[in-house]
């Protein structure tokens, strides 16, 4: 038994609980920090004891392996193709959507609108009414993008004839897919299906796709990891701000676009389109994260999340150590900055696969790199810094590739560890756009949303059940 050591220096107090105790100390200039404490999550105590016994010896080892794979992943854009011929498992009656599985009758407004639009785009229906009937008929099947190695922002709808980017994890060889970003305003991913929306989609198929495809082919591949790393140094977090990423992409593409030009009108239109859409790069940063995380799947006992995704109704996660199983809970309405004329009452609950960026250590986790959009997170740069800082306490490690200048180039928090989420009762924050709850209205705001705790509790308890000892 050691002797008490008080080291008669000044007392520095951490206060947990009654706030008045901290303010009393602070009132006399005594050194105190108050912890913004909340009760721990309500988790099965048996699971807690199983996990805490296994953490050091088993789980942390598996997590170290998962994190190593994630850190070694190297996403590159290698080409494009039509979904039906490109994505294994795709078929004509299949519509891929964002988030965990959801049936037509449970889909939120924006997702239904996007399905209607996709069916009209595919010429499977003439009118929205016809499309709605077909959508509900049972002929059309629905599946999460994630289950076919794809990702889609917002409603995330991918139908058979849509062109998609093909991204390869150069280290491990696995592929991922995403459509081309349509821009802001009335767009399919927010559930709009008016003629202008369908016309744009057809132009993207007819002009944007072949022009880009030729340029990418000419280049062979584009290193997305390097673009993302640079974009972070230029004020993007590549979820809610993609201005730098999009600009860097144009720089890479421009010579190849000219070299492979068939006519100047199309090439100009393509450059204009990308230039006019600050979020164009999002549909590359997302699949980049996706293929890196997919490589870290199926590591027994690992408590690291490889998917966080929302379908506008539910928020779902998958862990490396729990296979294909989804753990879900009701999606929350973002606490956002709303565009003039809109309020929280107009907002749809959180939607989209774009939380794959946070899962990959970007987006909200890297918000400290994006001072230009701090109004989304409370208005000042310190808020953004502390958001990022707080995420380190629920991550297993840090990125070796992506750094934050404002944190002295510290790597972004990486590898969401569900055990730490439960232990600290601190859920991931996601830096996201907000869709109107009615189809076709579009984006009504942007801001930060907290993941619901329920999926993490369920995943934690499932992992406890599945723990394997050597």
């Amino acid at each position: 038994m050691a002797m008490l050591d008080l080291n008669s220096e000044s007392l520095k107090v951490i206060n947990v609980g009654l706030e008045a105790f901290a303010s009393d100390l602070a009132s006399k200039d005594r050194t105190v920090v108050n912890v913004d404490w909340r009760p721990p999550l309500d988790v099965n105590p048996l699971a807690v004891s199983k996990i805490s016994h296994a953490y050091e010896a088993v789980i942390a080892k598996a997590n170290a392996e998962a994190l190593k794979i994630i850190n070694q992943g190297k996403p590159v854009l290698i080409g494009m193709g039509i979904a039906l011929q490109t994505i294994p498992g795709m078929h004509e009656d299949l519509i891929l959507h964002a988030g965990p599985p959801v049936t037509w009758d449970m889909m939120c407004g924006p997702m239904r609108g996007a399905v209607i639009g996709a069916l009209m785009y595919e010429n499977r229906a003439e009118t929205p009414e016809e499309a709605e009937k077909l959508a509900a008929s049972g002929t059309i099947k629905y599946q999460p993008c994630h289950e076919l190695r794809a990702v889609g922002p917002m409603a995330g709808i991918i139908s058979a004839s849509m062109p998609v980017f093909i991204i390869k994890n150069d280290t491990y060889g696995n592929l991922s897919y995403a459509t081309q970003n349509e821009g802001l305003g009335k767009v399919l991913r927010y559930g709009a299906y008016s003629p202008e929306v369908l016309e744009r989609l057809r132009w993207m198929d007819r002009v944007l796709y072949p022009v880009l495809n030729r340029a990418i082919k000419h280049l062979g591949q584009i290193d997305l990891q390097s673009l993302i790393a640079q974009a972070l140094h230029m004020g993007d977090e590549v979820h809610n701000r993609n201005r730098a990423g999009t600009s860097l992409l144009i720089r890479q593409l421009a010579p190849a676009l000219l070299k492979t030009m068939e006519n100047i009108e199309d090439t100009t239109a393509v450059l204009d389109f990308i230039n006019g859409n600050d979020h164009f790069f999002l549909n590359l940063s997302m699949p980049a994260c996706k293929c890196v995380l997919d490589a870290a799947r199926d590591i027994p006992n690992s408590s690291i999340a490889v998917v966080m995704a929302r379908n506008g109704t539910e928020f779902g996660i998958q862990l490396s150590g729990t296979g294909k199983k989804w753990f879900t809970g009701a999606a929350l309405v973002p606490d956002a900055l709303y565009f003039p004329g809109y309020s929280k009452d107009d907002a749809n609950p959180d939607i989209g696969d774009s939380a794959i960026t946070e899962t990959g250590g970007l987006g909200g986790f890297a918000i400290a790199a994006a001072p230009a959009i701090v109004q989304f997170v409370g208005g000042n740069a310190a808020d953004a810094l502390s958001y990022t800082r707080s995420m380190y306490s629920i991550c297993f490690g840090e990125s070796q590739k992506y750094q934050i200048p404002a944190l002295d180039f510290r790597g972004t928090p990486l590898g969401i560890d569900v055990v730490k989420v439960i232990k600290n009762n601190l859920v991931p924050i996601i830096d996201t756009g907000v869709a109107h709850k009615n189809p076709g209205v579009g984006q009504v705001g942007a801001g930060v949303v907290k993941a619901p705790s329920e999926p993490f509790v369920k995943a934690f308890e499932a992992l406890a059940d599945m723990l394997q000892s050597d």
């Binding site: 947990v16 009654l18 909340r38």
Partner: protein
């Protein structure tokens, strides 16, 4: 009448804040009863008992806040719920820096370089997990929370001592470490007297006694009330004693505990034999300890302070400075015979029981009586000579401690005053950190309308550097005719003398 309820997710406030918000809600127009509370199992039971567990909130989760309002009509209920929403979501004023607060002890350790003590006051069922985290991070712990099992207490104290750390508590209300008063404590300068105490208010009373005599403390450790039980075996009492014995800044040691179990007493006496320093012991009861040349036993807390100052032998004056005359006439109160003590400090109430038994040869009725025959049958109904510790669980479930919230005590004072058999009302007013900012004003509002022949005796516990301005508190009370003392034993002796005079 209508009862309405809402559930709020994703928000957490400490219990004191929520009780203060509930209090404010109850004062809203058209509101009959209202509460804002965490939806824990225990709290739901409390709500059910008062008919406030409406169906809208039966499924609320442990981590959610529920607001229940009983109002005269729908409109007023909605208004009150609106107020509740506003109050609950109001940003805390203390944090004007834009920097976000750390959300866990681990994070706080990173934020604050060189942190060395963690003060924990979360609800009991979460407390030992937080204490574990703090000890793991190498921090001394002061655990203010109660409702921690004795097995957990033993485990935590063993773990702490293996690491050479303090584990003060559970249920440790007071400590002054390296000159810093923690939780319910008083300002006192640094000095030569080291204290270890298993009683919170007992420690406060001795600190006040030392401050009134111009002395300071080297350290004042709290251990929590159960440390002297054989299950804990005086682990922390002994560890702190050893620290003070070795500490070059400590010249005289004070040891306070509410009658430790025999084996713990023996251990402590053995320890005392190993030091050449004076040790002033107060086990809060008239007991006899073996003769040890450097041990002095005291029966009152104020005497403990007095003796400790005498033993310092620093040649300075030992008499306590007084803030008012403290001399009042002792004469019987016509037709009235009984004394009613309404305490907020448990140890002071206990000291009063001892003083009473010394004077009258038997104990008075009390809610904290150890023998069944003296136990109150109904804590809400006083009879005969009666002393109530209003900080006991009987009165604090769902309500702030009586040192913070005087409303229940004010009601009891009015009730006792209306009983025409009551001659003396005995009160304590505890000042210092954590306590009410201006208790005298609250008390005066009720005391001024009591019958004039009634004697109100009040012990004001505090030091002149406490945030409340002790001199002002004392003068407000004396101006209202209250007989104020700054030593509890003197106050209770005076109160009992009035009772005695009436019975001669």
């Amino acid at each position: 009448m209508i009862t309405k309820a809402i559930t709020i997710n994703g928000l957490y406030l400490d219990s004191v804040k929520m009780m203060l918000i509930s209090k404010e809600l109850r004062q809203a127009k058209g509101v009959i009863d209202a509460v804002a509370i965490m939806a824990t199992k225990e709290n739901k039971e409390i709500l059910a008992a008062s008919g406030m567990l409406v169906s809208d909130i039966t499924d609320a989760k442990e981590s959610e806040i529920v607001v229940v309002v009983k109002a005269i009509d729908n409109e007023h209920a909605d208004l009150a719920i609106g107020i509740a929403n506003e109050l609950l979501r109001a940003p805390s004023n203390k944090d004007n820096s834009s920097e976000k607060l750390p959300q866990s002890i681990d994070e706080a350790v990173i934020t604050m370089k060189g942190a060395n003590l963690c003060l924990i006051s979360v609800a009991g069922k979460y407390a030992s997990a937080e204490a574990d985290k703090a000890l793991d991070a190498g921090l001394h712990v002061m655990l203010f929370s109660d409702n921690v099992s004795i097995e957990e207490e033993l485990r935590l104290k063993r773990k702490a001592l293996e690491k050479g750390l303090l584990m003060m508590g559970p249920d440790c209300g007071t400590a002054v470490i390296n000159g810093v008063p923690l939780a319910f404590s008083n300002e006192i300068s640094k000095g030569d007297i080291g204290i270890v105490s298993a009683s919170g208010t007992g420690l406060q009373e001795v600190i006040a006694g030392l401050a009134h005599r111009g002395r300071g403390v080297s350290q004042a450790f709290g251990t929590g009330g159960r440390d002297g039980k054989k299950e804990i075996g005086g682990l922390m009492l002994c560890a702190c004693m050893k620290y003070l014995m070795d500490d070059p800044n400590t010249k005289v040691i004070v040891l306070i505990a509410k009658t430790p179990d025999k084996e713990v007493q023996d251990k402590l006496v053995e320890l005392i034999k190993q030091t050449s320093k004076w040790v002033v012991v107060n086990f809060l009861k008239d007991i006899s300890l073996p003769d040890v040349k450097n041990l002095r036993y005291c029966t009152s807390l104020d005497e403990t302070a007095q003796v400790a100052c005498e033993l310092l032998g620093d040649g300075k004056q030992v008499e306590a400075k007084m803030l008012c005359s403290e001399s009042y006439l002792i004469e019987p109160v016509n037709e009235r015979r009984y004394i009613r003590g309404l305490y907020s400090g448990g140890t002071l109430c206990y000291e009063a029981l001892q003083a009473y038994s010394r004077k009258f040869g038997r104990y008075p009725i009390s809610n904290i009586a150890s023998e069944a025959e003296y136990k109150m049958r109904d804590v809400w109904h006083s009879e005969g000579d009666c002393f109530i510790d209003m900080g006991a669980d009987d009165f604090t479930v769902g309500r702030p401690h009586p040192m913070i919230d005087y409303s229940l005590r004010l009601k009891k004072i009015a009730d006792e005053g209306a009983d025409n058999e009551v001659a003396v009302i005995m009160l304590d007013v505890v000042l210092g950190y954590g306590a009410h900012p201006d208790p005298a004003s609250e008390l005066v509002s009720v005391i001024s309308s009591l019958p004039k022949e009634l004697a109100v005796v009040c012990h004001v516990l505090g030091t002149e550097d406490d945030p409340q301005n002790m001199a002002e508190q004392v003068s407000k009370l004396t101006a209202a005719g209250v007989r104020v003392f700054t030593s509890h034993i003197k106050a209770i002796d005076h109160a009992l003398s009035i009772v005695e005079a009436g019975r001669k």
